[in-house]
Symmetry: D4
Subunit: 217 residues, 8 copies
Amino acid sequence: MALLFENGDRIVFAGDSVTDMGSVQPVADAMFDNLGHSYVRVIENLLTASYPDVFLRITNSGTSGNTSRDLKNRFDRDVVDLNPQWVSICIGINDVWRQFDVPALTEYACDPVEYEANLREMIEKIKDRVKGVFLITPYYIEPNRKDMMRARMDEYCDICRRLAKEYNCIFVDFQQMFENFCKIRHSSYLAWDRVHPNQIGATLMAKEFLSHCGYKY
Amino acid sequence: MALLFENGDRIVFAGDSVTDMGSVQPVADAMFDNLGHSYVRVIENLLTASYPDVFLRITNSGTSGNTSRDLKNRFDRDVVDLNPQWVSICIGINDVWRQFDVPALTEYACDPVEYEANLREMIEKIKDRVKGVFLITPYYIEPNRKDMMRARMDEYCDICRRLAKEYNCIFVDFQQMFENFCKIRHSSYLAWDRVHPNQIGATLMAKEFLSHCGYKY
Amino acid sequence: MALLFENGDRIVFAGDSVTDMGSVQPVADAMFDNLGHSYVRVIENLLTASYPDVFLRITNSGTSGNTSRDLKNRFDRDVVDLNPQWVSICIGINDVWRQFDVPALTEYACDPVEYEANLREMIEKIKDRVKGVFLITPYYIEPNRKDMMRARMDEYCDICRRLAKEYNCIFVDFQQMFENFCKIRHSSYLAWDRVHPNQIGATLMAKEFLSHCGYKY
Amino acid sequence: MALLFENGDRIVFAGDSVTDMGSVQPVADAMFDNLGHSYVRVIENLLTASYPDVFLRITNSGTSGNTSRDLKNRFDRDVVDLNPQWVSICIGINDVWRQFDVPALTEYACDPVEYEANLREMIEKIKDRVKGVFLITPYYIEPNRKDMMRARMDEYCDICRRLAKEYNCIFVDFQQMFENFCKIRHSSYLAWDRVHPNQIGATLMAKEFLSHCGYKY
Amino acid sequence: MALLFENGDRIVFAGDSVTDMGSVQPVADAMFDNLGHSYVRVIENLLTASYPDVFLRITNSGTSGNTSRDLKNRFDRDVVDLNPQWVSICIGINDVWRQFDVPALTEYACDPVEYEANLREMIEKIKDRVKGVFLITPYYIEPNRKDMMRARMDEYCDICRRLAKEYNCIFVDFQQMFENFCKIRHSSYLAWDRVHPNQIGATLMAKEFLSHCGYKY
Amino acid sequence: MALLFENGDRIVFAGDSVTDMGSVQPVADAMFDNLGHSYVRVIENLLTASYPDVFLRITNSGTSGNTSRDLKNRFDRDVVDLNPQWVSICIGINDVWRQFDVPALTEYACDPVEYEANLREMIEKIKDRVKGVFLITPYYIEPNRKDMMRARMDEYCDICRRLAKEYNCIFVDFQQMFENFCKIRHSSYLAWDRVHPNQIGATLMAKEFLSHCGYKY
Amino acid sequence: MALLFENGDRIVFAGDSVTDMGSVQPVADAMFDNLGHSYVRVIENLLTASYPDVFLRITNSGTSGNTSRDLKNRFDRDVVDLNPQWVSICIGINDVWRQFDVPALTEYACDPVEYEANLREMIEKIKDRVKGVFLITPYYIEPNRKDMMRARMDEYCDICRRLAKEYNCIFVDFQQMFENFCKIRHSSYLAWDRVHPNQIGATLMAKEFLSHCGYKY
Amino acid sequence: MALLFENGDRIVFAGDSVTDMGSVQPVADAMFDNLGHSYVRVIENLLTASYPDVFLRITNSGTSGNTSRDLKNRFDRDVVDLNPQWVSICIGINDVWRQFDVPALTEYACDPVEYEANLREMIEKIKDRVKGVFLITPYYIEPNRKDMMRARMDEYCDICRRLAKEYNCIFVDFQQMFENFCKIRHSSYLAWDRVHPNQIGATLMAKEFLSHCGYKY
């Protein structure tokens, strides 16, 4: 399988803080350090290092703290209007997390029903305007599926998987990838809060993403 | 049971970052904000609010990042030489944590054998010079006892419990207290990294400590 | 008496700098350190530590420097519109203080007539929309009732007590509580300026407040 | 009475934070803003403005937080070795204050016996090497003589007055001056903490000092 | 002659940087350090220290860099609308200075004709609404009247003097006062740039101003 | 070919600013962000992501501005004493650069004779204590071999290649790798100054290095 | 040839970062350090030092990052509306650079056709309103004409030269001047990135510019 | 006359703040912005721009606030030990200034006798080890020779001129140069405090210095 991306393609990565990680707000291209230091930057680095003759435009549309509701509200401005050839959506961590760290502030979270609706609305907006949509699961870097928050996250991952199938998106399973890694090393090796990965975590995510793109190292 | 502490007593809290939390280094008394914002401050606040006529001197000898080896090395200067009437020791979290977040840097961690030896050396240095020694378990705010790091922490807690019994120390079980709390709320409500508590966590720790002191709210 | 507050209740604390103390402006919920470090935070900590299964939403609507006039002007936005079940009002210190520290700037203070009118307007706005209103006296941590400023403050405390009775509010007397404490320790132990308390003072205030709420430690 | 000071005289003001107030440490002459903004600066300003043809060297040897013990320990370096013609000593506030704001930290305060000994040692060291010594009372800007801390301060003022007489020093009574002012305006007009004066307070202190120097405005 | 100012009077000092000197912008009353550290603050300090029973409101309406044109343009907002009983105007230094330090930027300066017109417009706006207007000369702390800039400044001082007479204002001659002082000490003792005075200079200006006010030290 | 590195191996990367890039000084292990953001970090990331079960200790001994002389002088402390299994040396850029940007400051540069001697001394110190030594060429990201500085750099690269052969080191040719890349994209895409690479450059360097290590992506 | 500029003339330098270099935005006259530290300041310094009796107004209208499109868009506000007697335009570096450092972000660059159109539009706007227009080439401090970016820059320089001739502008060839200098010293002596010169580079540019102005040192 | 300086010469400029102006302390070569922004930098810029093939090493040994005594005390370390071919000494401004701005601090100034001795000691130390010594007058940018400080400065200039003759140094008269310039423009155009020049002043000084060096622009 050849590289999915062709010369001149623009790829927009929409998401929350794990996509953002210091990127210029609200939308950033690869210039200076604008792109931040999440998996998006690692993907850009690996693609260019391996395919110097393919000119791609990588755009980071991640914003820290976003739930699927927040992302949906800015989706036109920060994704659709950029006219990308490819879109990646990785959202849902905050939809779940707020249910556990600030349970009394109920308007901060999104329940599964709303999550699905938000995701669906975004996919429908963009799917016919691009060459492909990547749907990435939210995740909690916790291998114990009985952990309250991991269990809740799995509900959202299931929705994500189901919609990917329904809409024929490329499905990327960060949750499963992290679970595999945690069989060997403890989550604190990647992220003390089990959410925001260090650069090793970002590299794992980039590898996982690229494994769906026909990328040859 | 009456309050253990008497007018004029000095209580020194030795420990790592969960004891330290912004206290002036290396040793701090209750003056300005010197005491930091860990359970030590909450203990001082509750004691004074409930017993305004008992003058106690609360000292924070916590230092961020310390293992039992680090604490042992500064124990004379930061604990013994202060001539306290009471000493509280809460150490071991970093002895364990370093085995999981930087496994390659083996000199950063302490194994159970060394942990026990360090603890023993500190207790023997101080026990005959004070009215009482508090031995507090290290902890990982994770209710799943099969979690790699929690399981390892439990080994250290067992050592701590055993030595408390052997030396007739007052045993305070932070690990058990946090496990109980996590039956109701998720760990991320107290500490995103399952170690450094917010002020609710600090209050829980202070309550647990004071429950062994004859404290009446 | 059981705890006044029920699962899901929102409690809004309106006030000036002694309520604010570093809280996010203009209105802050308990998330990160947003709540500041006044008695509001201590109340939140103690409630959660003692009742982990009761989910309450504590909101700090304190703003430094506010007089009763300032609070009245923002009362709709910062209190009423939040739809709380409980409201606490602690205001008046600056109404008095400005008469003594900047006597020439007369528009900075509020005289007793205006203070009463402001308080009354706020109570009437909110009383039928909530389960209960707490009315807390302003205070000056000075036990000598003949001190010019303490004497003036007492006039405002009297108004506060009278309105609490008239409107059937829960009356909390910080002034009396501080007077009692000062029989044992000097005011400089709590607050060098006799207004802004340290964390011991905040704990005293929280205890006093909670003593009216059916709180069991 | 003509101006006490003659062309070329050096006047050293020794003291604590109310003398220091931002002066360069440990000793500062009138150059740039080195002199700080306490009464020392106001004295220097008024003297030069009224006597432009008299060249005086004004030196600030005040250090924040000093008790009489601290000042005594640095008296050789910061006062005697400067070879002044005149020395002013204003010390004692912290000797008293620490007894009230941190009563448990007993080594921070000096009791009256030590205060007298410290003062005596400093006076004897310097009296025969200068044209005159000013002895200034410590103070608490509180008109109520029954206030715990004011009452304690008066004991120190009495010692100060007695030694001034015994050693034939020029006695300056800041405590009495502030008491008089507080009959008209509340202490919070000068200093929220009743110790550190604003610029009006500094001007009052300068006026009081200069009233003993044959100064004509 | 008794003090000109009566209980409750407000005095507004309009001017440029030598009036401003760090005062809160655009208009500042005596609260915290808002008043800045120019002669305005020294006047406020001396008045209160000598007349504690007279409550005056001192307002600093000085703004750094202002020419007479700038001051005229904000005169309604920053002076007239404050309803003062007394107004002091000290302007013109920048009208002249810009002719010498940036001669090519001609729109930065005001020539004598405009200066007179601006001054006249401000006086006429305010004179019938106040108890008195102080007109203070601009100045250059340079005793050599043949210096290019001093000579130019003298033209402006003459206009100032003439208008003071015409409109029956109280005339304060800072230029003459500084010339006198410079017979004894060099200008660099007061101000390295011959414009912005240190605190001794501010004290000299305050003394000069107060000598026209019936002030008794 | 299997991965060169085995479980427990320590690899020390010695060098100048292109190795350092913000690493903690003088020597840093992979903990927090201590390792900086040069190719060293990318190597660590890729190794762990691909071989999670191999525990390696990666150490950055790079220091900005170092010439071969500076590195030689600290080689015992920062490399030998760490007892590594593998050592990588990448030095020489500053030896050359200083000849062109500050030609008058001759003591800042090292000529080829000294460069060879320094390199030789370091290799001989370490070669028998490790499993292998990597010798990496210095470089100038400039494809034009006639550029004055590139031409000079090539002399140093030749020395590097010759010594690698002589001492049986693993030779890594960054200069050649960059020359190849510049056939496709301009040097300004990687580094505006042709020396300090951005993250794409760092990734290229990591790939080049790993291509000599039996690394499988 | 006498100096082109006459008393009272205003000269506006329009450009990008090499003109800007820290100048106050968007337009700055010579006052304080407003003018920045590019060749514009050196020109101003040399002119005044050599012709103290000629009063010129030098204005810096350079803005970092500008392409010819950006400059064109602000040309009315920042150049025409200032009513200069002379205008200097030095633009085009970023038009080219963006084609090499961020080739995927195509909207950041301007191709030769647009460059010419932009330049033409600016010249036509201003040429009949001034005494003269200076047209300065963009440049890349790289003597190798086969370097990708230098070769591209030469296309823009040619356009610049052609338009200067067509519109009878004074043509200043920074590119040629730098090429000459690089025959003697390497580009890294002037600018590590071959664009932003140090003060020696700025002096070279000023000398080159002044050589077209009848300037006598 | 050809340029005095030859390839490889080192020229050290010793002095006070007007030589220093932000240079790296205590001694700085031309690298980054180390050289500061005084006349030393302008000299370096002009020399290199006009003689790119002559490699000179320009060193700034100026230190703010130095008197001739301070410079003498560090002369071995900061001048002699650098083995220069040429030395320039410009000292004395602070010897004089301190007599006027802080007349009471007599140890801060140097009288003419000491000034001459200090200068003589420095010249004798260096004169036989160098190709030439430049002796530059101190100055006060004040054309009125009757000004107190200018008159005093002239005494020091006379000493400087006399010693230059006696020791056959190259004499550079900054005082005369500034006096000439002030016939055309006011001192405030160059330096508000008549000492620290802006960049135009620095350029004037550089031109004056170079006029003694056979420099051709």
